[in-house]
């Protein structure tokens, strides 16, 4: 199988290669939830950071949004690239450092609508894996330091981009909508790597819940704390904004009253039984070393 050949790299070819996204749900929800609070300066145009209210306290909201002018050509449609990865890490680490001596830790809300990680030569060359580790590591550190971290999936949550922006959250909330999807890889690439046709992939996905792209299947894996059905996820009404805000508040309360700061709450679903079983067996076998 041969991939689509692109002759020369220019912004124009990129726009035709992928359909350019005219709107960004991440941006819409970031603006609604922060109520147009000032955006922290000094970040890339693709990384929005603002400190705004959540249940009467100051929280840090973070989103990755499309930037058609991004100087890295493979990062213009809301992908998480080199700069985005490190900037996410920075946005989170700044909060950890600022709260170092404080008893109360600032909550962090990751507004998640990430098309994918960036696929490109520049990205591999400069170590995009390390940049995404900067982000994933910061979110995990924040959670372990006691910051309540909430991931709100409003659009795509794809693969490495999701690992970098949101997957380390104490609680994950998703809007249940056809445009919202979580997956490890786009369909065409996944088909190529597994030597299957896209049709065969879709047939398996219909029977095998972890292979599906929709949010109901994802929820069946036990990874979400809540999914929300909204009529207008692209243009939320005041009532719909309130539904999401209430869900964030409930998640915040649930986290602050929970002594457990790891991800073990995600292990209870029927479709994720083996993950729990493995841990049970490991624990049973762990001790027993020779003295």
């Amino acid at each position: 199988m041969k991939a689509v050949v692109q002759l020369e790299e220019s912004p124009a070819t990129h726009r035709t290669h992928r359909t350019h996204r005219t709107h960004s749900r991440g941006l819409i929800w970031f603006q609604k939830l922060t109520n147009n609070a000032p955006i922290n300066p000094g970040y890339a145009a693709s990384v929005l950071v603002a400190d705004a209210d959540l249940a009467g306290q100051r929280a840090r909201y973070i989103a990755v949004v499309p930037d058609p002018e991004n100087r890295f050509p493979r990062v213009r449609n809301g992908e998480v690239g080199l700069v985005e990865g490190w900037q996410l890490g920075r946005a989170v680490q700044e909060v950890i450092d600022a709260d170092h001596a404080n008893h109360t830790k600032t909550p962090i809300v990751a507004v998640i609508d990430v098309a994918s990680q960036a696929y490109g030569r520049r990205e591999e060359a400069y170590g995009i894996h390390q940049a995404l580790a900067g982000a994933a590591g910061a979110y995990a550190s924040a959670r372990l330091a006691g910051h309540p971290v909430i991931g709100l999936i409003v659009g795509k949550a794809m693969s490495g981009a999701f690992l970098a922006h949101g997957y380390q959250a104490n609680r994950l909330i998703a809007i249940d909508d056809p445009e919202v999807m979580v997956h490890a890889m786009g369909k065409a690439s996944a088909a190529r790597i597994t030597l299957r046709s896209v049709e065969a992939m879709e047939a398996f996905a219909a029977k095998i819940p972890p292979m599906a792209y929709d949010i109901k299947s994802f929820a069946s894996l036990g990874l979400l704390s809540q999914s929300l059905t909204l009529q207008h996820p692209d243009n939320p009404s005041v009532e719909e904004l309130q539904i999401v805000q209430q869900s964030l508040q409930a998640a915040l309360e649930s986290i602050t009253s929970d002594p457990v700061r790891d991800l073990s709450r995600r292990l209870n679903a029927k479709n994720r039984q083996a993950s729990a079983k493995v841990r049970e067996m490991l624990r049973a076998q762990w001790k027993g070393d020779r003295p």
Binding site: E124, H183, M185, P210, L221, Q273, R279
Partner: protein, 283 residues
């Protein structure tokens, strides 16, 4: 390596995951958890007519390294490309979680992870991804107590979400045969076109993601010859260094400063990367 050295050496790359773990731990100290006879196989592969393996491609080896309790988590690249499914992923994450718990209980258990992996197992897609998030969490927790040492020796390489895991380790060791990168070459070619990345051009691929390039760009801590004894010595040296003052994944200021000096209108070359990172990361 000269001919005499070549004849004497005991290749690490040629070993299976289980033998690599045994070669690293103190002689006679290795005990495997959830070994093949426990028959914890992937529940999802069988449903798709794919042959399972009774360790799901991951070896959890507990033992000692120079007397200190150590865990070696070894991924078998020969099974499904070292891909992370639910069971294998849970074996790694669960073991890291217990090692961190040991430390909280005063037992200084450390970990070495052998990354021979293409990343998420696409037949278990979202559960592989979830397991990798758990692995990230486990490494970040454990590295607060003990250095977590990653090794990518060869020949599968280390890709996808597991390359992020490798980049979260306190230290990372590679050989010349290793490759470390986020996206596999075939995926980049599929997503971005062959002009961006030619997945069949092996010298090109190694020049960007190969062990030596990663070492000279400061993205790994050691690039060594393929020799089991040397691997053990290298691990010993890294353990002796203790936890780094700042993990590489926490150096956002240094990396952002480097990226500021990148002319992104030009396609990258290996030399450009070395120059920028050697200057910016040396401190």
């Amino acid at each position: 390596m000269n001919i005499e050295q070549l004849l004497k050496r005991d290749s690490f790359i040629e070993l299976t995951a289980r033998d690599r773990a045994r070669a690293l731990l103190d002689a006679g100290s290795m005990r495997e958890l959830i070994g093949p006879f426990d028959r914890m196989t992937s529940p999802w592969l069988a449903m798709q007519g794919v042959v399972t393996q009774s360790d799901d491609g991951v070896v959890v080896a507990k033992g000692t390294f120079d007397g200190q309790p150590y865990l070696v988590l070894a991924i078998e690249g020969a099974f499904q490309g070292g891909s992370m499914g639910e069971v294998g992923g849970a074996k790694i994450a669960g073991a890291l979680e217990l090692a961190a718990e040991d430390n909280r209980n005063g037992i200084p258990t450390g970990a070495v992870i052998l990354f021979e992996t293409g990343g998420v197992r696409l037949q278990e897609a979202n559960l592989g991804l979830a397991a990798i998030a758990d692995i990230h969490s486990g490494i970040v927790d454990l590295r607060r107590y003990q250095p977590v040492i990653g090794i990518s020796a060869g020949t599968v390489g280390c890709f996808g979400g597991m390359s992020i895991a490798a980049a979260l380790c306190s230290y990372l060791v590679v050989t010349q045969d290793a490759r470390v990168g986020l996206n596999g070459p075939a995926v980049i070619e599929q997503e971005a076109g062959i002009a961006e990345y030619d997945s069949r051009d092996r010298p090109f691929i190694w020049s960007f993601t190969g062990g030596e390039q990663r070492y000279h760009s400061g993205l790994v801590d050691a690039c060594i010859d393929d020799d089991s004894a040397l691997m053990r010595t290298t691990v010993r040296d890294l353990i002796a260094r203790g936890r780094p003052a700042k993990n590489r994944s926490e150096r956002y200021q240094d990396f952002l400063a480097c990226l500021d000096s990148v002319d992104a209108s030009l396609q990258a070359t290996p030399e450009m990367v070395r120059n920028i990172y050697q200057k910016g990361l040396s401190s």
